[in-house]
């Protein structure tokens, strides 16, 4: 059974009189431990699909199963819980809280755990561990405006990791970064998958970034046009 599974998922938006078909029936299964990269032209529905995967949005039609459980019909508070416990998000624009230290930014998801608010010292310990995983312990007290783009994105990755999710979702995480930094970030994803068995889904425009994935899915006009599983070797960029 795949970890994440969509069945004929469709998403429509009503804009004025006409309907925008952002997704036109997508059926995909993603297994635990896969590193999926999603590519496709602008407006092809990549972000829309990821929002559904991330329980930030619900499909107009079709089903979305996590571990075999249909989550597309869950009430908002339950979806919030799934986001908190199962998923970690990384955004193109980092979305860090300004005038807030890196450490406190990383602590954020721990404020909303259903087991109650995690105690201050425990929060700090976990956040430090997450920062360590992205190699930023020495920047814990820095505010976002004191960090480079790559460092900010690493803080964002640490935040996505801190609550121990099983899936990491990233929508163009390298979109605002230069090439070298983009590769650094992708290396981190690859390492997290290797070391922790995380399932990772990354949207990107760049083919060389997409090549980090163990599987690349092409979107066009709200549909999947190709779905390629790479050799293990291809997942290692140095051997590409």
């Amino acid at each position: 059974m795949p970890l994440l599974e969509t069945r004929e998922v469709a998403k429509e938006y009503h804009v004025g009189d006409h309907i925008v078909h952002a997704l036109r029936g997508v059926s995909l299964g993603i297994d635990a431990g896969e590193f999926v990269t999603i590519v496709g032209p602008s407006g092809s529905g990549k972000s829309t699909f990821m929002h559904i995967l991330g329980c930030l949005d619900r499909p107009t039609r079709g089903q979305y199963l996590m571990n075999g459980r249909d989550v597309s019909t869950l009430p908002p508070d339950e979806l919030a819980r799934v986001r908190n416990e199962m998923l970690g998000f990384v955004f193109q624009g980092f979305n860090l809280l300004a005038r807030t230290s890196a450490l406190e930014n990383v602590e954020l998801p721990l404020l909303y755990t259903r087991r109650g608010v995690v105690k201050g010292s425990e929060r700090r310990r976990k956040a430090m561990a997450a920062l360590e995983a992205v190699g930023l312990t020495d920047r814990a007290d820095h505010h976002p405006n004191q960090l480079s783009g790559g460092q900010q994105q690493r803080v964002a990755i640490a935040r996505a990791l801190v609550a121990d999710p099983s899936v990491l979702l990233a929508d163009e995480p390298t979109g605002n970064l230069d090439t070298a930094t983009s590769h650094e970030v992708m290396e981190i994803f690859a390492r997290l998958r290797r070391e922790r068995g995380l399932t990772i889904v990354v949207i990107t425009h760049e083919r060389d970034i997409a090549a980090y994935g163990s599987r690349t899915i092409d979107f066009r006009d709200g549909r999947v046009t190709s779905d390629v599983h790479h050799d293990q070797a291809l997942a290692e960029p140095s051997l590409r």
Binding site: L56, A80, N95
Partner: protein, 494 residues
């Protein structure tokens, strides 16, 4: 505990968020502070006015009751002149005729001590001398003690009353003599000692010949401005030492000849008993701890005394319970000019009591308090709108942050709570600052304008509570708006 509260992540979060917009937060806080301070100061002014009216009313003796021996009632006719009417028991009781208490206040028939006393009122005054005090005196010292035991009773003083001619040197003054109790000054809140002191319990126990004289008597015997304390006067051919001079402490009552309070002399009732060889009391004066209690006490005293005097169900009382309210207008609880004005303007004079007057005054001052508070509340609303404004600003400014929080697992109620705490934090901080400012303002008003202001703990609590409520009320809408945001829309917000 406060420290734990402050370190709670949500509170911490709210304080940090407020700290980021320091200027806006400060201005909003200022608005709230002014609002709360105004409310508190206005309430203090209102309560102060109310309290001073209550004090004056009390000084006029509204919480007083008098039990008299005998059963007869004074009744006021249209002319305002007091005429005695015998009550239900006119056939069965011989009544003492001392009438000083129902004299109109404005004039004194005995202004000239050498005048022959052929005025009708003078005859009545002399009449009680002739009738003898003991004839219908049914009240005893033990009755007074028993009344003291009733709940709600504050002070009790038994009294014997006489007309008396006081001599000093070649001067004589015809006035009222009251044999009374050391507790009398506590009962007569309207009293003030112009000179000396009241007699002591020791002097009362020993029935010493000491005399406290009213202001009018002092003026007539010694002349204005001459020291009266220490002088020896003669009464009933006995020497008395003057130990004090009493005068009025309130504008409601001014000393006047014939007023029976300040045109009067006071000695321990024990001294009267000893010199006149008496054992009964003419009356007992009682004060209720609360003036609202007077009617209840009047009923209870009636029951108690009927029981003590062994009066059967079908027999009339052998005493009369008078409340100050029923008596006040007829005995001159008000200055003559006020009494005359009231008498001239009210058709059914006997239906107007001082109690009603007091109720009206109190109601008026209470209305004023609420009016002031209502005006002040407008500034609170303005403060509240300020809070709404800054919270809305905060929500708009931080829409992406809200989206992010929702994305990492915050529920809508978490978001709601976060912004409500922010609003309440401002309003409570404003509340505390406002209370401090309000207390200072009330003190300044009291000092510079000489108005009485009262800051009660209740009003402070109320101001704090209202501040919190304003925060919740005006924070609700922005917080709700924040909590209803769609995560994706919020994340995409520019």
């Amino acid at each position: 505990m406060i420290k734990r509260w402050l370190s709670h992540p949500y509170v911490d979060l709210a304080l940090k968020a407020l700290g980021r917009n320091r200027l806006q937060t400060g201005l909003t806080l200022l608005g709230m502070t002014i609002g709360v301070a105004t409310v508190l100061a206005m309430m203090a002014v209102g309560a102060g006015a109310q309290q001073s009216i209550e004090q004056q009313v009390r000084a006029a003796g509204l919480n007083q009751l008098t039990v008299r021996a005998g059963n007869w009632r004074p009744k006021v006719e249209d002319t305002g002149e007091a005429v005695a009417h015998q009550g239900d028991a006119r056939d069965t009781l011989v009544l003492p005729l001392y009438r000083g208490d129902v004299l109109p206040v404005a004039f004194h028939p005995e202004d000239d001590p050498m005048e022959k006393h052929d005025h009708p009122l003078a005859r009545q005054r002399l009449g009680d001398l002739e009738a003898g005090l003991g004839s219908a005196a049914t009240l005893t010292f033990d009755d007074a003690e028993a009344i003291k035991g009733l709940p709600g009773v504050q002070y009790v003083a038994g009294g014997v009353h006489e007309n008396a001619r006081v001599h000093f040197g070649g001067k004589r003054w015809f006035t009222r003599m009251h044999g009374t109790d050391v507790e009398m000054p506590s009962i007569k809140r309207g009293w003030m000692l112009a000179e000396g002191r009241f007699f002591t319990r020791r002097e009362q126990d020993r029935a010493e010949q000491v005399l406290v004289i009213g202001q009018i008597v002092a003026e007539r015997l010694f002349g204005a401005g001459v020291k009266a304390v220490g002088q020896e006067v003669t009464l009933w051919n006995q020497p008395f030492e003057v130990v004090g001079v009493v005068t009025s402490a309130t504008w409601v009552v001014r000393p006047a000849p014939g007023d029976d309070q300040f045109d009067a002399v006071y000695m321990p009732y024990t001294t009267t008993h000893r010199l006149l060889n008496l054992s009964k009391l003419n009356d007992i004066t009682i004060t209720a701890a609360s003036s609202g209690d007077v009617s209840r006490l009047a009923r209870e005293i009636t029951t108690l005394l009927r029981q003590r005097h062994g009066i059967g169900d079908d027999q009339p009382d052998d005493f009369t319970v008078l409340t100050q309210a029923t008596k006040a207008l007829t005995t001159g609880g008000l200055p003559p000019s006020v009494a005359r004005a009231v008498a001239g303007n009210v058709a059914e004079l006997e239906k107007v009591t001082l109690e009603q007057l007091a109720t009206t005054l109190e109601r008026a001052s209470r209305t004023m308090t609420w009016l002031l508070a209502a005006v002040a509340a407008v500034s609170l609303v303005v403060g509240g709108i300020g809070i709404m404004n800054i919270t809305l600003l905060s929500v708009t400014e931080r829409t992406r942050e809200i989206g992010l929080r929702l994305a990492v697992g915050a529920r809508s109620r978490d978001v709601m709570r976060q912004f409500l705490i922010e609003a309440v934090a401002i309003s409570l901080a404003g509340g505390v600052a406002g209370i401090v400012l309000g207390v200072i303002a009330a003190a300044l008003i009291a000092r510079t304008l000489n108005w009485a202001t009262v800051v009660s703990p209740l009003s402070v609590l109320l101001a704090f509570g209202v501040a919190g409520a304003v925060g919740i009320f005006f924070g609700w809408y922005p917080a709700r708006r924040a909590s209803q945001l769609d995560p994706i829309v919020a994340l995409r917000h520019e």
